[in-house]
Structures are given as C-alpha cells and as structure tokens.
C-alpha cells in the first residue's frame, strides 16, 4: 500500500475543533463539512488540497472531541494519510475505523516542508521525501490496523464477515 502526494505541514495539538469546527456540525454530510476543514488554522487548505496529498504534523494531532467527522472530512478531501509525531487516541481509532492510515514518524515533522512531494509505503514503514531525496522510517502498523486499512474501514470489515475475519475464535 503506497501513497504519493504533496505535503501540508501543521504544528502541535491540532484539535478536532480546528479540523472541523463544531459550529458546522448541524449536518452529518461530510461533503458539506469538507470546505470548512482546518479553516481557522489555514483558510486556504480546504480549497487547495488535492486527492492524494498528505498531512504532516507535530504532537497530539486530533486531540479533543470524539467527532468522527474530523477524519471523515480529511478522507472526503482525498487526504491519503496523516503523518504526525503522535496522535490523540480517539482520532487514532476513528481514522483507522474509516480506513484513513495514520503514521507516527518523528523525523517527518522536522524535515518536511509545505508543498514537498512525499511517498509512503505502509508495508515497509518507509516515508520518502521525493523533493529532498531522503527517506524516513516509521514503525509498521499493527496487524489489525492494516486489516482495517485493507478492508476500507470497520464498517466494510464487518460487512465482509464481522469480527471473526480479523479476530478468529475470539469473536
């Protein structure tokens, strides 16, 4: 599973109120919400991001509320993956449940600049900065997270056979 796209760089503690402000959450329609993604932080982002682009951020990305709309709008905008130093836990599970891969990588934040081209290989745990001609490593995803990504999210996984497919006899 590889992804290639342009980098959008953000800082630490990007919370879900910034990813998608609650004032818009009177609708669950992600296509209506997507234009407001990250607007208080970077008003250009939602209009300029292209399918396949990647987010690179600092620590604690996605902290705050449990709103699944946050990874939902990123996915709707076509964001292929989020690379951060660390993720808040509810955002972490929500992203994988929706089939949006998250990558914990310390180096990316320090090295990657806005607009640079990145290539991610989930299986090998390698993040290539095509623009700078260098690469960084990250810990490959746990097996269950990989299964969620391969299935296209938890709903798809359940539809395809429930927990047993991923959990065997435990389910």
């Amino acid at each position: 599973m590889t992804y290639e796209g342009k980098a959008w760089v953000f800082g630490d503690d990007v919370d879900t109120d910034q990813i998608i402000p609650a004032r818009y959450l009177n609708t669950p329609e992600l296509s209506l919400l997507a234009p407001h993604c990250l607007e208080d932080l970077d008003p250009e982002f939602a209009g300029a991001v292209r399918p396949g682009d990647l987010l690179v951020a600092g620590r604690n990305f996605g902290c705050g509320s449990s709103r699944e709309h946050a990874p939902g709008v990123l996915k709707t905008l076509g964001v292929a993956a989020v690379v951060a130093e660390s993720f808040a836990r509810i955002f972490y599970r929500n992203s994988f449940n929706l089939g949006l891969p998250l990558i914990e990588c310390q180096e990316a934040r320090k090295r990657v600049e806005r607009g640079e081209r990145l290539r991610v290989d989930l299986k090998t745990g390698r993040l290539t900065n095509v623009s700078k001609g260098e690469s960084y490593t990250f810990k490959p995803l746990p097996k269950f997270m990989m299964e969620l990504i391969e299935a296209g999210g938890l709903s798809a996984l359940l539809r395809a056979g429930g927990w047993t497919r991923a959990w065997g006899s435990e389910a």
Binding site: E68, I90, R93, S155, W163
Partner: protein, 425 residues
C-alpha cells in the same frame, strides 16, 4: 508444583479483562470486549446510523444496552440540527431503543442520574467526555461513531489495553480549591497528551472527602490530558449515590495492591490554589490572582463538567445579593431537567435571575460553540466547561478561560477574572 500467581492488575486492566472474558491481560494488547452500554448524541448518532447501514446492520443486537442522548444543539437551534435529531429519534423508534432522551439534559450528567451507569461496567460513548462515568468505578471511554455502530450490531468493540497512571491526592484542599481546580492542576502537570492512550486511576485521602458530583468533574476532564479513561475506586460515597437505584447489579472492582503503574503522581491539595486555564489549552493553568486584570464579556456556568447541583449552589452562594457587572453576560445552564427543578426548589434560580443572569435550558450550548452564547471577535469568556480551544465558543479570535463555578461567579460580579474571596469579603 507451584501454580503461577495471576498477574496483579489495575482497575482498568481488571474491568477490561472481565469484558474480554480473560483472566489477565497486559497493556498494549488489542482485545475485543463486550460493551455494557453505548451512548451517542445528536452530532455523533447520525454518523453512527450511516455506519450501521454501511456495515449491513438491520437490527441492533441488544436495544436495552443502547442510549441516545440529544444534548448538543437541543432544543434544536436550526433546521439541520432538527433533522439530525429527527433521524436519531426515528432510528430509536425503528430499533426499539428505549433509552432515547431529548431535552432531558446533558448525557454525562443524565446517565448517572438515571442510574444507567455503574461500577465495573464498560461504557463507550461517541462523545469524548464519556470518561465522566469513571467517577463511578466504570471503565468509560470516548470512541467514534463507527465504533458505536459496531457495538450496536455485535455488542463488541476493539480496544487497546491502556497502561495506568496512579494519581494520589493528599491533604485537605485549600480554601476555594474545588474539584475543578484539582483536575486543572493535574492536567497542567500531565500536559495535554501526558496521559495519551493511558487510564488514570484516582486515589488518595483528599478524594475520600469529595462528593460524587466533584468526582464527575474530575473524571470528566481526564480526556484533556489525552486519557482513555479516569477511574475512581468505589467507596461509601459511591455506594450511597447508587443506593437503591438502577438496573445493577454492579461489580465493584478494586486494583490489586501490587498492580503495576506506568507512573505515580502525588498532589498536595492543601497547597493548591484556585486556578484558571488560559487560552488555548486546558493545560495552560495559572493562579486566579495572576489574571485579575483580564476583562471579560461573558461567563458560562454549566456543562457536563460543572452543571450539577453542587456547582449551582456554590455559584449562588457567591452571587446572592450581588449583581453581574455591566457589559458582562452570565449564562447559567443546569445540566439536566431535574437539576433545573432542584435549583428552582432551592431558590437558586431566583438568586441567579436577581443577579442579572439568564438561566438556559439544559444543553451543551455554548461549550462547543453550538448555540446559547456564541462569542464575537475579541470577546473573552470565563467558563466552567472543559475546553478552551481556539474558536471553540465562537469567533477564532475570541478567548475562553476555564475555571470553577466559584471563580466563574466571582468573575461575573467583577466583570473581570476574580477570586471569590475578593467578592465575598
């Protein structure tokens, strides 16, 4: 041959082990666990309903284990939010879900009040402040809408077993130091991600003296340090609160004395002072005294953090016979209908109105910038809520200062951030 003793476990590990039908488990393991109760609200239920259909769901497995609490934008502020509530209401009817609540109050005050949550349970809610129920000795955690849909269909959820941090509170809290001040001080110490992926376990003599309401305030905010759950051990105060109520039977779980913790932190509550979390992070905590020049335009007393009787009583004590400063608005939002009714019986609503406050219907309201008190550009608000993130209560250039009900009420009278001592003297 000597049988190996089973591994000593923390409260979080024990509760999760029971729900995963395991004798023991270790931090970091991924488990599939049976969920006792789920909750979704008017913002997260519509997404869960979509995920339910997408996953091929036809009927929920156990409707009696599902609660739907419409609390964020209710009473509905506009047509789209009314549609979200209608969709949720119709789903409840279709699936025979009886635990559907609308305008009854904020979930995290309402479900304990209705005795729907209790010790030893695994409760998951599509709302990050679901951790509140940990005050009752439950493992309660915020998850997403798809997790909730999966639990509706299968009764189960995937979880990573968290490590635990033990928090020890000692001493007699200093004057005007409330549960809110204790938890804000704790978040300042841990940092906003200091407990990410971890469970916090609350201990210590200082907590033996505080009410269930105060414990709800503390458990409510563990997510602001990133925690997955915040669990109080069950004592006489918990049992008195639960007495004669609810579906039980609850299972009282205690940590093993030799359980392993990732970290142990000690706090001396006699040396704490009333504090305020300044923009834009709940960990940006400062003593009230340092902020006495900060002028404010709005004060909010309410929310799942501080909208219970004890909170309203202390606010009324500060406000009795006084007036809210000119050019300052005070919003009081009882967390549930029964809290509102009790406040009315005790004469507190009268005190608030005479002071110049507006008393709003139970709702999350302004806490997340939904409705009932949105801030304009440059406005500042002292709020008893739990988050002061950029733009959360309105304009991106507005500011939220988090404080206890006592400090909030004092600030409303002063028109600037104030210590209750200054107002009462």
């Amino acid at each position: 041959m000597k049988k190996a003793a089973s591994r000593a476990m923390t409260m979080a590990e024990k509760i999760l082990a029971r729900h995963a039908r395991r004798k023991e488990l270790e931090p970091g393991e991924l488990i599939l666990a049976e969920v006792d109760l789920t909750m979704a609200n008017d913002i997260t239920a519509p997404l869960a309903i979509r995920a339910f259909r997408e996953a091929g769901g036809k009927r929920v497995l156990r409707p009696e284990r599902i609660s739907l609490v419409m609390d964020h934008f209710t009473p509905n502020k506009d047509i789209p939010s009314a549609e979200q509530v209608r969709e949720s209401r119709e789903f409840a009817r279709e699936q025979d879900i009886r635990l559907y609540f609308e305008t009854d109050g904020i979930a995290h005050a309402l479900l304990p009040e209705k005795a729907l949550v209790g010790p030893g349970q695994l409760v998951l809610g599509a709302d990050s402040h679901t951790c509140t129920y940990g005050a009752l000795g439950a493992f309660a955690s915020g998850v997403g809408s798809t997790d909730i849909a999966a639990a509706w269909i299968t009764g189960m959820a995937w979880l990573r077993v968290p490590g635990s941090i033990k928090l020890q509170y000692k001493g007699k809290p200093a004057p005007w130091v409330t549960a809110k001040d204790m938890i804000l001080n704790t978040i300042a110490d841990l940092g906003v991600e200091g407990a990410n992926y971890m469970a916090l376990e609350f201990h210590g003599e200082a907590l033996e003296r505080i009410s269930m309401e105060a414990r709800f305030t503390m458990a409510n905010m563990v997510i602001e340090a990133g925690a997955k759950a915040g669990i109080f051990h069950v004592d006489r105060i918990t049992l008195d609160y639960l007495q004669g109520d609810g579906p039980g039977p609850w299972e009282i779980i205690s940590a093993d004395p030799d359980a392993l913790y990732s970290d142990v932190r000690e706090y001396d509550t006699s040396r704490m002072s009333p504090v305020v979390a300044v923009p834009h992070s709940p960990a940006n905590v400062r003593p009230v005294e340092e902020l006495h020049k900060v002028e404010i335009q709005q004060v909010v007393i309410g929310s799942c953090t501080n909208g219970r009787m004890e909170d309203l009583r202390v606010a009324a004590r500060v406000l009795a016979g006084r007036k809210v400063a000119s050019h300052t608005r005070l919003l009081v939002i009882p967390a549930t209908r029964s809290t509102y009714a009790q406040a009315l019986r005790e004469g507190l609503v009268q005190v608030f109105l005479e002071a110049g406050a507006v008393v709003c219907p139970p709702s999350c309201g302004p806490c997340l910038g939904g409705h009932l008190g949105i801030l304009a550009k440059g406005e500042r608000c002292v709020s008893t809520t739990n988050r002061n993130f950029l733009g959360r209560m309105g304009h991106p250039e507005s500011e939220i200062y988090l404080a206890s009900p006592a400090v909030a009420a004092a600030s409303a009278v002063a028109g600037k951030i104030a210590h209750p001592r200054e107002i009462l003297s």
